[in-house]
């Protein structure tokens, strides 16, 4: 009896470490929406503006990457059936990463592109290196690899590439040395972050969690494997050809390969959903499927952008960025959090009582009706923001950013309710 109990605790890290990352991430999400609302009239024009860059990094570093760190500390040991290499490093990393994020986004906000920005970018790099080191050493002891493992291992590689590229860009703003255009490198930095780092994690984790949540059975993972190779070869090809000559046929071929990889990922998700036993969509699955749909739309827009002179179409990059960050990634994170956080808290609290006395079910851990309202508010806010950005409607942005802020506060409220259960 005691033995299997210790296997549980041996695999998963202490809840307080994971919770720290989750709390910081959820607060970042609310702050990010508040700043968007307070500055709604400045969210227009070219994307290379201090406030837009600052808010974008609150989203990517404070919200998205922060939550991935927490989730990976929890999921990598459990899914790959091994112990996290070091809990202490996970703790230390947090206290380097958090000031790094705050300092870095502040530097963008006031556009202090001198020593300070490079200093905070170095802190971020240090934290990301510690993370990668910790996860790689955790993966070293994995006995049986699965598709999820491949995707997560690749994601770590891209995290490091993104971090180094970001640091080099920060140094370039301080003392220019990059011969190619700064914006072109920025484009590469952003795409490696979104497709390489964030999407690789999302894809790998989706293959594990979606079948579990929907009870899906009897399908093959061929599409997932093809997606893996297409996206990776495509990203390498894009990076390599960009360093030489941008507009070659080879460059466009690699872009199409990445697009095809994303389509194969979506097909795999479709197959998993088709084979599900649990027909009813709960709130977590609703958010997630909306996010996959938005990934499809974003990919269509991204393909278009690759073939046109996107900087000449006003606000096109903002529409694209908003779609990625809010429509696709944030919807997915919120959905997965509604599945993962209640389980972690539930496990912490009730696991020892199962079968011996009545315990709460996961769906009783938060008010599903509020989450339902949040879902429709968020969906409305996403489409309304995209319309307002595309057609430059300030009043539209004011309304949609308000809706998004309200939905993020409902999310915060529900998460607090779960934590206090």
């Amino acid at each position: 009896m005691v033995q299997s109990e210790s296997i549980v605790s041996a695999y998963a890290p202490p809840f307080r470490i994971v919770a720290k990352y989750f709390v910081a991430a959820i607060i970042s999400f609310v702050v990010l929406n508040l700043l968007l609302l307070l500055n709604y009239s400045s969210i227009s024009g070219h994307h290379f503006q201090p406030k837009i860059l600052s808010i974008n990094h609150i989203a990517t570093l404070g919200w998205i990457t922060m939550i991935i760190f927490g989730a990976m500390f929890q999921l990598v040991p459990v899914v790959l059936e091994t112990k996290l290499f070091s809990e202490k490093l996970a703790e230390i990393q947090f206290w380097i990463y958090l000031p790094g994020v705050i300092g870095f986004v502040y530097c963008f906000w006031v556009f202090d592109t001198g020593f300070n920005m490079t200093f905070f970018a170095t802190l971020l790099n240090l934290a990301m290196f510690i993370f990668s080191f910790n996860i790689i050493l955790t993966m070293k002891s994995v006995k049986s690899w699965n598709v999820t493992g491949w995707f997560l291992a690749a994601a770590i590689f891209y995290l490091i590439v993104t971090a180094i590229a970001g640091l080099l860009l920060a140094i370039n703003l301080w003392t220019p040395y990059i011969k190619l255009s700064h914006l072109q490198y920025l484009n590469l930095h952003a795409h490696i972050a979104f497709i390489g780092w964030i999407s690789m994690v999302i894809m790998g984790v989706s293959f594990k969690l979606i079948p579990m949540f929907t009870l899906s059975h009897g399908y093959s993972l061929t599409h997932a494997k093809l997606a893996f190779w297409m996206i990776n070869i495509g990203l390498f090809g894009i990076a390599a050809t960009m360093l030489f000559e941008k507009t070659t046929n080879l460059y466009y071929t690699f872009i199409l390969l990445v697009v095809l990889g994303i389509i194969f990922f979506l097909l795999q998700i479709h197959i998993i959903f088709k084979n599900r036993i649990r027909k009813k969509f709960d709130i977590g699955i609703k958010f997630s499927s909306a996010a996959y749909f938005m990934l499809g739309l974003t990919t269509v827009l991204g393909t278009f952008i690759a073939f046109v002179d996107y900087e000449s179409i006003i606000n096109l990059t903002l529409v694209y960025g908003y779609m990625i960050i809010f429509g696709y990634i944030s919807m997915l994170i919120v959905g997965q959090m509604y599945k993962i956080v209640p389980f972690l808290v539930w496990y912490h609290k009730y696991s020892s009582k199962v079968g011996l006395e009545p315990v709460s079910m996961l769906k009783d851990m938060f008010i599903e009706k509020f989450a339902e309202i949040e879902f429709y508010l968020m969906l409305t806010a996403v489409f309304c923001s995209l319309y307002s950005l595309a057609f430059r409607s300030e009043i539209g942005l004011l309304i949609s950013f308000s809706l998004m802020l309200i939905s993020s506060i409902i999310f915060l409220f529900n998460m607090i309710a779960i934590f206090r259960k």
């Binding site: 009896m1 299997s4 109990e5 296997i7 549980v8 695999y11 999921l75 459990v78 899914v79 059936e81 699965n146 079948p211 579990m212 949540f213 009870l215 059975h217 009897g218 036993i277 649990r278 027909k279 009813k280 599945k339 389980f343 539930w346 496990y347 009730y350 696991s351 020892s352 199962v354 079968g355 011996l356 315990v359 709460s360 079910m361 996961l362 769906k363």
Partner: protein, 89 residues
């Protein structure tokens, strides 16, 4: 008594889900043969611990052995009619 062990995610107990394939009660030991819905399910050690706890609670004098098998794979048709109705099948 194993009906008290409910999968918290699905809200259905492990017996109706068809996860328990055999219960063998001997003089000094209870042997439970069971499987899980997904191979490598993160819940694997939790669910077996719960089963051990429950059996151990009712018959503390006997040892509990959980035989977690991956073959034959769990399939939806192992579920009872009630469980299927609950899932909206």
């Amino acid at each position: 008594m194993l009906k008290g062990v409910i999968d918290p995610e699905i809200g259905i107990n492990i017996v109706d889900l068809g996860l328990v394939s055999e219960v063998e009660s001997k003089a000094d030991v209870n042997i439970i043969t069971m499987t899980l819905t997904t191979p490598g399910c993160p819940m694997h050690s939790s669910i077996s611990t719960w089963v051990e706890n429950v059996i151990g609670h009712f018959e503390p004098e006997k040892k509990v052995v959980i035989n977690l098998v991956s073959e034959p794979l769990w399939t939806p048709d192992k579920m009872t009619r009630e469980a299927r109705q609950q899932l909206g099948m």
